[in-house]
């Protein structure tokens, strides 16, 4: 349907019914200061009583309001083309800071987790950025990113820009003055998700299961602790987000169940790339990319032996966690609470 097709409907049907059919259209009216109108009248009837000068401030006349209103309905009713499923992304090596070629070709599929390790300033973020903009040998690293094994066409690259990839980093905060519930509902509305109440409910439950300390639906998002915010962001990205690729810049330093968080993302068929220094996360990934001097120096598959070391590292981690909790609780750290390393 084109915008013109809606003109007949909008001209004949009372605005109250129109708004029930297309709830978002209320936003268009509010944007031109036409909220709270008589629901029994049609839009053209309503416009008869509106001051032309007021419309002119928006650069509109009565006919244009009707047409723009219809164009708005059309734009947001368009049956969304189901996004072409992403079955893989491939990183083709470019060169490092000194111009040496990266001998690398790495394909990642949904459900896979790849960690990125390397010293600070080595170029981990640059790699995430190359993936985000689907680099085609035209960024400083000259890397190329393939989608489903082929070069994404220019259109897709630009139109999809920002939609393919969701990002999560330690610096991110909530800035909206909303409760958890309002926040999730607002996000669901913007995604035009049917049955959003159930999704909101699920998202909330999952976020709470990841967070060390529980929060309620009427907590303000700005009042959540670091761990709670991160949990809500992860649950929201996994369940309400549309991006098939998730780039994570450091997940540690937060009171959050990291293992479950990664499981949740992977379980929702996302491709997860995670820049991290945390051994528990790095070793839990299927592969890890090692970066030095701006270039990928190797890709290591997590070995069976490394996987076996995981439970030892977890033991060390839980010792540290215990000490942290003792400190938090105002306790005294006793020598005995730290096991000898041979005992682990």
């Amino acid at each position: 349907m084109s915008a013109l097709d809606y003109v007949a409907e909008v001209s004949a049907v009372p605005i109250g019914d129109i708004l029930r059919r297309y709830p978002l259209a209320a936003d268009y009216l509010a944007n031109i200061r036409l909220s709270g109108v008589d629901e029994t009248k049609t839009l053209p009837e309503i416009l008869e009583d509106v001051d032309e000068d007021m419309l002119e401030e928006f650069g509109l006349d009565r006919e244009e309001v009707i047409f723009h209103f219809c164009a708005f309905i059309e734009a947001f009713s368009r049956v969304k083309r189901p996004d072409e499923a992403i079955s893989s992304i491939t990183i083709l090596g470019g060169r490092n800071k000194t111009g040496r070629p990266e001998m690398v070709e790495l394909t990642i599929t949904p459900g896979e987790v790849v960690s990125i390790v390397g010293p600070t300033g080595s170029g981990k973020s640059r790699l995430l950025e190359d993936i985000e903009c689907l680099a085609q040998r035209d960024t400083p690293t000259a890397r190329q990113i393939l989608i489903n094994g082929s070069v994404p066409d220019a259109d897709k690259r630009f139109v999809a820009g920002g939609k393919l990839v969701a990002q999560l980093s330690q610096n991110m905060n909530f800035v909206m003055d909303l409760t958890v519930q309002e926040f999730l509902e607002m996000h669901a509305k913007s995604r035009m998700i049917a049955g959003s109440a159930a999704v909101v409910e699920k998202c909330f439950a999952v976020a709470n299961s990841l967070a060390g300390e529980k929060f309620t639906l009427d907590t303000k998002v700005t009042q959540l602790s670091g761990g709670q915010s991160r949990s809500l962001m992860i649950a929201d990205t996994a369940l309400l987000g549309s991006s098939p690729i998730i780039l994570i810049d450091e997940l540690e330093n937060a009171g959050i169940d990291r293992r479950e968080a990664v499981k949740l993302l992977v379980g929702n068929e996302k491709i997860v790339l995670m820049s991290t220094h945390d051994p528990l996360l790095a070793l839990r990934a299927d592969k890890r990319i090692v970066i030095r001097n701006g270039g990928i120096t190797k890709v290591i598959e997590t070995t069976a032996e490394e996987e076996e070391t995981l439970h030892k590292i977890e033991a060390i981690d839980s010792v540290l966690l215990d000490i942290r909790n003792q400190l938090r609780g105002g306790g005294i750290v006793a020598k005995e609470s730290i096991p000898e390393f041979q005992e682990i």
């Binding site: 944007n31 969701a166 800035v175 996000h187």
Partner: protein
């Protein structure tokens, strides 16, 4: 010479976005210039100077910044042509949210930041509504969900614009913006081109220096507010 008009509320990150995008364009030094339209003071010329970017700053002073822009933009283009620039960028702050310094067929970019509140896109008006590209800054410090909601609110106001996220500090995203700038229209002059939207109007006694308050001092185009009866 390609002309690009960049507008956005104060402190939204226009200068940072422009600097990063110029770097991403990768053109020879001195071939991309900026004309900055501001109202009273600006320190941005120092940042352009540091990068050896030819630039001019102009202050609207007591004139409506929008009117000041439109009466000087042609001169800016002449300056750029004489300077032999291949790309000229005009930068102006939309101080009253009613500004829309955009010209038909000339690539217009609106810069707004994620921190300014989710409803900001709905309040900005023509500056956002008539832009070809909307650049969202400071996205690195807010949640992914808020970025998505913000982009959605932009689409509600301007469904046809391309929305790009650019980090003014690291330059992330500037690369894609530069790709759009490369396709901007080549022009030699702006004469006879039309603005996309009318400028704010004001021809009243206060425009000419009146400072006294009271109906008897008001002349010309005055808009009266209507209050509820008490």
């Amino acid at each position: 010479m390609k002309l690009i008009t960049v507008a956005g509320p104060p402190s939204s990150g226009k200068t940072s976005v422009i600097l990063k995008t110029i770097a991403a364009l990768g053109l020879p030094e001195g071939s991309v210039g900026v004309v900055k339209f501001d109202s009273l003071t600006s320190f941005d010329h120092q940042r352009y100077d540091e990068q050896q970017i030819p630039n001019q700053t102009a202050f609207a002073g007591k004139i409506c910044p929008d009117h000041f822009f439109v009466s000087n933009v042609e001169g800016a283009v002449e300056w750029g042509m004489k300077k032999g620039l291949s790309v000229l960028i005009t930068e102006s702050a939309g101080l009253c949210n009613r500004c829309s310094p955009y010209v038909n067929a000339i690539l217009s970019v609106c810069v707004i930041d994620n921190l300014s509140g989710v409803n900001t896109p709905r309040k900005i008006g023509p500056m956002l509504k008539y832009a070809d590209i909307v650049v969202v800054t400071k996205g690195d410090i807010v949640s992914q969900a808020e970025r998505e909601v913000f982009a959605f609110n932009i689409r509600e106001v301007n469904a046809s614009a391309t929305v790009l996220f650019v980090n003014g500090i690291t330059g992330q995203g500037a690369f894609l913006l530069a790709r759009y700038w490369q396709d901007a229209l080549d022009i030699r002059t702006l004469r006879d081109r039309k603005l996309r939207f009318t400028m704010p109007a004001a021809i009243c006694s206060y425009c000419t220096g009146e400072t006294l308050i009271g109906e008897m001092y008001q002349m010309g185009m005055v808009k009266r507010m209507e209050f509820d009866d008490v």
